[in-house]
Amino acid sequence: MADKSFFIDTTKCTACRGCQIACKQWNMNPATKTTQRGSHQNPEDLSFVTYKLVRFSEFEENGKPVWYFFADQCRHCLTPPCKIVAELHSVSAISQDATTGAVLYDPKVKVGEKDFKAIREACPWDIPRWDDKTQGMAKCTMCVDRVKEGLLPACVKTCPTGAMNFGDRDAMLAMAKGRLEQVKEKHPKADLLNHEYVRTIFLVVDEPRKYHTFAVAKPETVIAALHESNVLVGS
């Protein structure tokens, strides 16, 4: 089995939230109590029991409404900063699957609040979440249990439009770059987000921050994290 990646094409996302619900279902994660807050985005944020969240971002531009959808999830970094920081803090909860590259959290491993904060801060995409009752950490698993049986991740399997894609990293990178070329004709600002560093590659057509505060990591942030990791791993 080869290195895997997601390609998330936001231009094809209709925010049906099939991925969000399928994720809950496959992982048997409970629903949280929510209220209507004046937005369709619900639950409000990722959590210990919400690994996949469609973020809704709306604003007006030149008198016209703009509404972006961002099916947020773990980026499954090639070199995950969260894992490095965890190791620094002697936290053994994080591992990386050797074949797929999935970054995996063991929610049964107790992590102190301080350690968790450091791990969360290490993630430029603000993904890790923690449960104050069990003191465990959780996030997207890449459905590695499905993938190892030859199945697609639940979120990808359920996506009707082709926004969610998954496969061998080479194939996904090729698909992402091909699609970027097409989309650029109409949307010159289109870009792939941090695709060199991550296994969850988002295609957006506008400034990433208009989708979500943590949609993209500044390259220097990632490089800093990697640099830190090299130094630390070496020492």
Binding site: T14, R17, G18, I21, A31, Q36, E58, F59, W67, T161
Partner: protein, 817 residues
């Protein structure tokens, strides 16, 4: 649907209007995306900027209830710019037909209006016939009384300026939409239309559909791959439910419901559509065969030629009775019903003016509520502001199996009858609906047998033998719907072949009017034959490459995947668009290749049969004299509207709608107490009144509470901030909602004045979850389309106010008034 969801991928231009396809039919967006990948233009026309709009190449906003003005402008644009398909219009539509010179139209009224009856004498609108009874035509389309010229004249008034003044759609947006969709008027281009309740739930609902029928006929988009008029059905089997006649005005297979004035089968059969034109196939001429076969399916051996096959046992409507939904609940409200089965529905939430419905339910002696979960209907007696002690209605709740817990078929929007298998047993005492009905009727029959009754014959004579080893057998029902040969037929009149008694009829072509065949629904005849259960097929072969998949499930009629497909070829039977060849005449072997054609007749040529075989004249109706409110669609304002005067004419509202008066039926037009237009809708995460989805925690997590979408401008006007609790009030009721202040809604400029609009979903109700909110239909009016009586839930007037700050519990109490 004339076509199928998969066929969207074949379109060059997709017009989604009167529906919100990405949100309400999310999986179908796969095929729209396929079309977009090919470079198709996707247009969304809607009062609101929705998740669908985000994927549109062109988005145009219009005021709710002004679709005819919008589409009337498109008709004018197509005519003015000669964008129509001239060959198609001349040969395949009634554009050349001559209309009675008494037809006329003046200031919003067609000829023949009687204000005291609020009705037209529609005979003045008839098509002219020659001495042989054949429609008169002018193939040059120049005659002043021909349909084409009348069409031009009627829509000449729908100028861009007027359309903009009515709809609030900027002129440049109108022109963008008109030009893009109008570009499909050439044979090598296909334009499809996707609509839903946004077009139907109006007092001009049928005429909205007529307007697009005219456009699709002008552009030659009917009967072709990537074309058609496609009603996106709101439930997986709602197509099946209408096919099987879950409506008052029809019996299975779209046969008219018998009425008191047709006392005998011969009287009934006299109403069979007739045509004297030898070039018109007029397929409905076969109706007597389908009625006789249906009666044989109902009454078996008890149905004989001598007793009219038991026709007398069928219930009859009064001569002009309209027993549709709104009238039904009006009668219930007046106390004219004893009992009521609410089966798989939730009228206390789903019905327009649901407050009236709840009062009506209290007038019953008994009600049986059959559903997967309890709902606001079954529990109306313990609802808000209801004292159970004061309710006399005895309510029985019957839990039924969910779709995964039973075997059977569903018929989807594309007319596909798909077999589904049971994957698990229903919980507890829940049982499949079929079993419940089967056993219930067994008990009714037994009671009648024991105790007789006023008129037991229809009940005692009904053939009711759908069981195997004492258990309800859904295959026996499916076979009955298809139909059997009831006697040995040594030489069938159709093909001179022999058919044995007890075998399944291969297709409706073999049905007879003499009692030798049965069929529970003629359009489904060929679905379950001696070759097996066609609906259970799952082969993925696609010989045309168009995605017809002819061996996947089964489509009515006779597995025809795109209806009216004879209109896709020229007079010689060659595909007009060779790149998307749906049908082709193989002259050498004298047969059609491709989809199942609309009848086996050779190509039309100069003397052959016309393509629209279900229409009495054999052609598409640009002019439609069969409706109650006019042969051409005309813009009228919704019953409740924000402007004093209809910009098109002196007739503010549709002149033939029924006005319910008195009791809880109150309305407000141009009333300063209710200044804002309101529309209702659904979101992806919930289904209908939420009976199934509100109990699913993950869906409730995603859409937990009633909300009201409000523009930033209106929010400012009313001092409302995003997330505030607000009250939405109409003359019928008052509900709370959470304000969703958004740039996706905008005020309209209508005839120079600002008109605000708000939008509310109708998924929520008081029963579950406890803080989900009250249902939107507490606000909607009891008024319907004159042809169908579908309620006008998409355009009515409300007020929106910020809820005063008070402790949460008090606030809840207040809204339950």
């Amino acid at each position: 649907m004339t076509n199928h969801y998969i066929d969207f991928r074949n379109a060059d231009v997709i017009l989604n209007m009167g529906s919100n396809v990405a949100e309400n039919h999310p999986v179908s967006f796969k095929w729209i995306q396929r079309a977009k990948d090919r470079g198709a233009i996707f247009i969304h026309v809607d009062p609101r900027y929705t998740r669908t709009s985000t994927k549109a190449d062109i988005f145009a906003r219009l005021r709710p209830g002004t679709d005819i003005a919008f589409l009337g402008g498109m008709i004018k644009y197509i005519l003015d710019n000669t964008l129509y398909d001239e060959f198609y219009v001349k040969h395949y539509t009634n554009a050349s037909f001559i209309v009675n010179p008494k037809y006329g139209f003046d200031d919003g009224l067609f000829a023949g209006y009687d204000p005291t009856k609020r009705a037209y004498d529609t005979s003045l609108w008839a098509l002219e016939k020659d001495e042989n009874g054949i429609p008169k035509r002018d193939m040059t389309l120049q005659d002043e009384h021909c349909v084409f010229q009348l069409l031009k004249k009627h829509y000449a008034r729908y100028t861009l300026e007027k359309v903009t003044a009515i709809t609030g759609t900027p002129q440049e947006d109108l022109e963008k939409v008109y030009a893009a969709f109008g570009s499909t008027g050439t044979p090598d281009k296909a334009g499809t239309v996707l609509y839903a309740m946004g077009w139907t739930q109006h007092t001009v609902g049928v005429q909205n559909i007529r307007a697009i029928s005219i456009i699709q006929s002008l552009l030659g988009n009917m009967g072709i791959a990537g074309g058609g008029i496609n009603a996106l059905r709101g439930e997986s089997n709602v197509q099946g439910s209408t096919d099987q006649a879950l409506l008052y005005h029809i019996i299975p297979g779209y046969l008219p419901a018998p009425r008191a004035q047709w006392a005998t089968l011969a009287d009934y059969n006299k109403t069979t559509p007739a045509s004297k034109d030898p070039r018109s196939v007029n397929w409905w001429k076969n109706r007597p065969k389908y009625v006789a076969s249906l009666l044989k399916a109902y009454y078996g051996d008890k149905a004989t030629k001598e007793n009219d096959f038991g026709y007398a046992w069928l219930p009859k409507l009064d001569p002009a009775q309209d027993a549709s939904w709104l009238n039904l609940f009006d009668e219930m409200y007046k106390g004219n019903f004893t009992g009521f089965f609410a089966w798989g529905m939730n009228p206390a939430c789903s019905s327009a003016h649901s407050g009236k419905v709840r009062q009506a339910l209290a007038k019953l002696d008994w009600m049986v509520n059959v559903n997967v979960f309890d709902n606001e209907t079954g529990s109306f007696w313990r609802g808000p502001d209801t004292d159970p002690k004061k309710i006399k209605t005895e309510v029985f709740q019957l839990p039924c199996a969910a779709f995964l817990e039973k075997e059977g078929s569903i018929s989807n929007s594309g007319r596909w009858m798909q077999w589904r298998w049971k994957c698990t047993n229903p919980p507890g005492d829940a049982r499949p609906d079929g079993e419940i009905i089967y056993e219930l009727f067994r008990k009714v029959q037994a009671l009648y047998r024991a105790e007789k009754g006023a008129f037991p014959d229809p009940l005692l004579n009904l053939k009711w033998d759908y069981e195997t080893n004492g258990k309800f057998d859904v295959h026996k029902v499916a076979k009955e719907i298809n139909g059997y040969f009831l006697e040995d037929i040594p030489e069938h009149p159709v093909d001179k072949k022999e058919y044995k008694k007890g075998t399944l009829v291969p297709s409706f072509v073999y049905l007879l009017d003499d009692g030798r065949t049965s069929s529970g629904n003629w359009i489904y005849c060929a679905s379950y034959t001696e070759a097996g259960n066609m609906a259970a097929r799952r082969k993925k072969d696609d010989p045309t490459g168009l995605g017809l998949f002819p061996q996947w499930s089964w489509t009515w009629p006779v597995n025809r995947r795109i209806i009216y497909n004879r209109a896709s070829v020229d007079l010689e039977g060659n595909p007009r668009n060779p790149k998307r060849a749906l049908l082709k005449w193989d002259a050498e072997n004298k047969k059609w290749v491709g989809d199942v054609p609309d009848g086996p007749a050779p190509p039309m040529g100069t003397e052959g049969v016309y393509p629209f075989i279900m229409k009495p004249d054999g052609v598409a109706s640009i002019y439609g004299p069969g409706l109650k409110d006019g042969p051409f669609p005309e813009h009228y304002e919704p019953l409740e509207c924000p402007i004093e005067k209809n910009i098109m004419s002196s007739q503010r509202i549709n002149p033939v709608i029924k006005i319910f008066e008195g009791g809880p039926d109150t309305f407000a037009t141009c009333d300063p107490r209710y200044p804002f237009v309101c529309t209702t809708y659904r979101v992806t995460e919930h289904w209908q009144t939420g009976v199934l989805t509100r109990w699913l925690p993950w869906l409730l997590e995603a859409e937990p509470q009633m909300f009201c979408e409000i523009s930033q401008e209106l929010a400012k006007l009313r001092g409302i901030a995003n997330g505030d609790k607000v009250f939405v009030e109409s003359p019928r009721g008052k509900i709370w909602a959470i304000a969703m202040v958004t740039p996706r809604l905008k005020p309209f400029v209508i005839a120079g004045q600002t008109v605000h609009m708000v939008g509310i979903p109708w998924h929520f109700g008081w029963l579950h979850s406890k803080d989900a909110g009250v249902n939107a239909n507490r606000l909607t009016p009891t008024v319907g389309d004159p042809n169908t009586m579908i309620p006008e839930s998409k355009a009515f007037m409300v007020n929106v106010t910020k809820a005063p700050k008070e402790p949460a519990k008090k606030a809840e109490k207040a809204q339950r008034r």
